[in-house]
């Protein structure tokens, strides 16, 4: 789960990481109230989970109440790359002497944590990595050992942060690492991390991605989940406990297993079609699950045909077949369904469906045949 900037800053604050004083505002009046409280000048920032908001006019400096009114009014409701701004973060503007970059993430190939620190912040780190890779100081951190202050001190020197910033930066980095580990982040990034002319260091932005698997030990994440903007199809699927991702095509996909579901998308594409979704029904494909899956796909008006691709392992194909019939009795499905059923009890499964087959309920012997049939129906 990606956090909004304001949530990231609030999360940072829990771990003692210095951020600019500020608060959220959903209306112009609220924005004004925050500005009066933190003191002018302030920065009014659109809260959207997409990059490039500055260029789109979503970040403005305001020196007075009138300017706050003007900018907050303009930014609220602004469409930034398809994301409509509903919330603002208003914070005390900072004078900036230097901009740095700091982040922690998992180094998957080496199975350790990776810290990245650069004296060249404020721009995309990918750009720095490409144009001037020596400007990034990488630090591999053994999860068993962690990051101590002494190591952080060597690291800020290696990254060539300004002398005056080093002690504060090292302390902030240890706190950021603690936030990354104890806060169960997939990514904790500060860009820019700033040094002010007065010589203080703090986080001017916050980019945090939380590991959904760790949600059970973080009740405080509930409020973040409540603000997640979701595709309505994905929301419905989540309520039904399905693993669904909405896409733009016309062939609805139901498969058991994430790998098989991904592979189904690929095969549909290879035979000239496009998938409307990714949907993994997992291991226990009973009638309820199948009905829920068909219902979610049925709610997508773009879907012209449905491809059910099941390879029974633990999942028994006869149960899947019963599930499909049960689902059809419960839900009025608008599109024809093409099934490919293989694996455990496939013969029994196909026999159960045999008497019910018609132009809207079709079986095919292989994944490729079924993909061709479903795509043919969708493109007809």
């Amino acid at each position: 789960m990606d956090l909004f900037e304001y949530q990231g800053k609030q999360y940072f604050a829990r771990f003692g990481i210095a951020v600019s004083p500020g608060d959220v505002a959903d209306t112009v009046d609220e924005a004004l109230a925050v500005a009066e409280r933190v003191g002018y000048p302030v920065v009014v920032k659109a809260q959207v989970k997409v990059g490039g908001r500055g260029k789109a006019g979503g970040v403005k400096l305001a020196a007075s109440a009138d300017e706050v009114r003007e900018h907050a009014g303009n930014i609220l409701g602004l469409d930034i790359k398809g994301h409509v701004v509903k919330r603002l973060w208003v914070e005390r503007a900072s004078d900036i002497a230097k901009e740095y970059y700091a982040s922690f993430t998992l180094d998957r190939p080496n199975k350790v944590h990776l810290g990245m620190l650069s004296a060249q912040g404020g721009v995309e780190i990918e750009q720095v990595a490409e144009e001037n890779p020596d400007a990034i100081a990488f630090l591999s951190i053994d999860p068993v050992v962690g990051l101590d202050l002494a190591t952080a001190r060597r690291w800020v020197a290696e990254a060539n942060l300004d002398e005056v910033a080093r002690d504060q930066a090292a302390e902030l980095l240890v706190k950021l690492y603690t936030c990354y580990v104890e806060g169960d982040c997939d990514l904790a990034e500060v860009n820019p991390l700033i040094l002010t002319p007065e010589g203080t260091v703090h986080a001017l932005d916050a980019k945090v991605t939380l590991d959904d698997n760790a949600g059970y030990r973080h009740p405080e994440w509930d409020e973040y989940r409540a603000t997640e903007t979701e595709d309505p199809r994905e929301k419905l699927a989540k309520e039904k406990g399905l693993n669904y991702i909405g896409l733009d095509g016309t062939v609805g996909i139901i498969a058991n297993g994430a790998g098989l579901a991904m592979s189904t998308l690929d095969v549909v594409n290879q035979v000239g079609g496009s998938a409307a979704n990714f949907l993994d029904i997992g291991g226990g494909a009973n009638a309820d699950v199948m009905a829920a899956a068909l219902e979610v796909i049925n709610s997508d008006p773009k879907v012209k045909s449905i491809f059910v691709n099941i390879f029974g392992g633990i999942t028994r194909v006869d149960e899947v077949a019963r599930g499909v019939l049960d689902a059809l009795a419960r839900v009025d499905i608008a599109s024809p369904i093409v099934l490919r059923l293989d694996g455990t009890n496939a013969v029994e499964g196909r026999a159960i469906l045999a008497d019910h087959l018609n132009e809207n309920l079709i079986t095919e012997p292989t994944m490729l045949d079924a993909a061709r049939r479903a795509v043919g129906l969708a493109n007809a």
């Binding site: 350790v112 999860p143 590991d211 592979s263 690929d266 549909v268």
Partner: protein
Amino acid sequence: MSIFVDENTKVIVQGLTGGQGRFHGLRNRDYGTQIVGGVTPGKGGTDVDGVPVFNSVKEAVDATGATASFVVVPPKFAAAAIMEAAEGGITFIVCITEGIPAHDEALTYNRLVEEFPGVRLLGPNCPGIISPGKCNIGITSGDIALPGGPVGIVSRSGTLTYQALHELSQQGIGQTTCVGIGGDPVPGTNFIDCLEAFQADPDTKAVMMIGEIGGSEEERAAEWIKANMTKPVVAYIAGVTAPAGRKMGHAGAIISGSKGTAQAKMEALAAAGVHVCQNPTEAGEKMVDIVRAL
């Protein structure tokens, strides 16, 4: 021969008294696997369908001589269960648990490497391992595998592993061992570990490798294959059409920026001399051709 597990492997099931543990553990036993015990704290002295249950891994190992463990416990207990297995003397740990926090996985992996260098972890979030006719640890349905070799299979995906077994078995082509390494960000065993073992196994004549988007394990495997592998390898990578920035079911299956795409992995493997196929059926057919020509 087979890799990692065979007919002599003695296995305990951590979580045998739970619903999943009982179901899969007994299925594995019925397949012929030497399931010699279960572990559930507080339930020592009882049994599950005749399989004795112990309070700790240590007790189970002392009583049975088990060397392998099948960990089937909920995510919040999985990291501790894996460490208990290693501390109790187990040297091969299979963890099928899905949904373990990434930080727990990273910490557990490194603790194992540092404190128990002789221990191999398979998974988490994997279907397990089967050496057909000898030993099945995990959730793979034994009847879709065919004993006798000569193909070794290594896969990041569960159902696609079954698909691969099925494609080969239907054509009468057996498998030495089929390893599901799992789809999480920090797998205990990776492609290279398995390729290395298959390369060293005289009965394995060819290897099928099934990858998916995310990470760079396939690219690293390609480098290793180029430098070390003399046996033919057929590969299929799922997720050519997956959008960037979305986790495709598995926690590890995500394209970050331009990294981890199926295209990049397929190109790396093809450049290493691997037969790269566009879908699982094509991969099966390719392997049939290779084995028949051996």
